[in-house]
Amino acid sequence: MFTLTDVILLVRKILVGILVFLLPLTIIGGGIWLLMQFLKQ
């Protein structure tokens, strides 16, 4: 019923989701942190 192909499909799907989550988090979180560091100086 639930095959290895399905597991691989799910893992790939979750990886795409993580990528779509991480890219904006890095830009926004990293951006705000960077501007803080810059303006602190």
Partner: protein, 352 residues
């Protein structure tokens, strides 16, 4: 006036570059604001402190929307839709069970999942990160969350349409042969569980932008729910002369029944339906920026997917854990990733 579906190109590299700029824009604006005003709010605002409060009635509306308010509103609108006969005879027993399960069940595990992510996983990954960005002024926090949440959902949604092996996780939302409140939350459980924007907004909430997230979430839920409604509330904005300027701006900025219904059409051949685009959820402007949207101010004749086999409700909800027994179904064990639409007899060579 109208934007048509002719020759819309897909340029992933260009679109990712534009997205990086879009995500960075609110942060750059925040930087410019602090630079020119000389403010350093992190020196005076404690982590987790809320420095701005919305008017009480607004705050109450947004908080209630995120708990029981939206569900209550959807039920009321659904009753109106049903009494107006907008579901007609397409709301079969199988569709009813699927819509009801999708309306009720996900909230019992999505919320615990995001709460776990926010309260357990994030403090482990970013210890000391709780509330560190609480100093971000409300207006900027609102803009950051609105862009972050909705642009991320645009991409999540778009990829499920444009990457063939992802399509079946989103298919359940499109298999409904009608529009309305009953299908607004209809999704495969795996699709809902791994919504990237849910975790992004949860992370930004952990970092201190949570108060603005309540407002964004409230507004977004009203817009996306309204776009799925079978009540064409946007029509007066196209028909009544003095409302047209508002309609022109509205249909470009946010999702409306006209643009989102086009996304749920079962064909793109009539110049109205456009399931290959109009991916925006709260904001439609992403579709205009990336060239994936069409605006016609018309509503499709029929909805759903042409190759729908009325797959079992539990299969649509839980695929790939359960597979359909319907032969040739995309959700069957040996089914195709993306099925071909049936060809109308008049279009088959040799048949008239």
């Amino acid at each position: 006036m109208s934007i048509t579906a002719q020759n819309i190109p897909v340029n992933l590299k260009r679109d990712v570059s534009i997205s990086i700029l879009l995500y960075a824009t609110p942060v750059v604006l925040l930087f410019a604001y602090l630079w020119f005003t000389g403010q350093k709010p992190w020196l005076t605002v404690a982590p987790g402190e809320i420095t701005f409060r919305m008017p009480f009635f607004l705050e109450s509306i947004f908080k209630n929307l995120s708990t029981w308010g939206l569900s209550a509103l959807m039920i009321v609108v659904a009753i109106v839709e049903f009494s107006l006969g907008l579901y007609q005879k397409r709301w079969t027993r199988n569709e009813q069970i699927l819509d009801l399960i999708c309306f009720v069940l996900p909230r019992f595990f999505i919320r615990p999942l995001t709460v776990y992510f926010t309260l357990k996983a994030l403090p482990s990954i970013f210890p000391g990160g709780a509330g560190v960005f609480s100093w971000v002024p409300f207006g900027f926090a609102f803009l950051i969350i609105a862009v972050a949440d909705d642009l991320t959902q645009y991409w999540y949604h778009r990829l499920h349409h444009q990457i063939p092996w992802l399509w079946r996780f989103h298919r359940t939302h499109h298999s409904a042969p009608y529009m309305g409140m009953s299908m607004a939350r209809r999704q495969n459980v795996i699709y809902t569980m791994f919504f990237s924007q849910t975790y992004l907004t949860a992370a930004l909430t952990y970092f201190g932008l949570g108060y603005a997230a309540i407002a964004v979430r409230g507004i977004k839920s009203l817009i996306t729910t309204g776009a799925h409604s079978s009540i064409k509330w946007d029509k007066p904005f196209y028909d009544i002369k003095w409302l047209r300027p508002i309609g022109w701006v509205m249909e470009r900025l946010i999702s409306t029944p006209a643009t989102h219904h086009a996304h749920h059409a079962d064909t793109t051949d009539d110049g109205v339906g456009y399931y290959k685009g109009n991916f925006g959820n709260m904001f439609f402007i992403w579709d205009l920026i990336f060239g994936t949207g069409i605006i016609t101010r018309k509503y499709p004749q029929s909805y759903g997917i042409k190759h729908y086999r009325e797959e079992e409700w539990y299969v649509q909800f839980l695929w790939p854990i359960f597979k359909s027994k319907k032969e040739g179904s995309e959700l069957a064990a040996d089914g195709p990733e993306v099925a071909d639409d049936p060809v109308a007899p008049a279009l088959v060579p040799g048949k008239v």
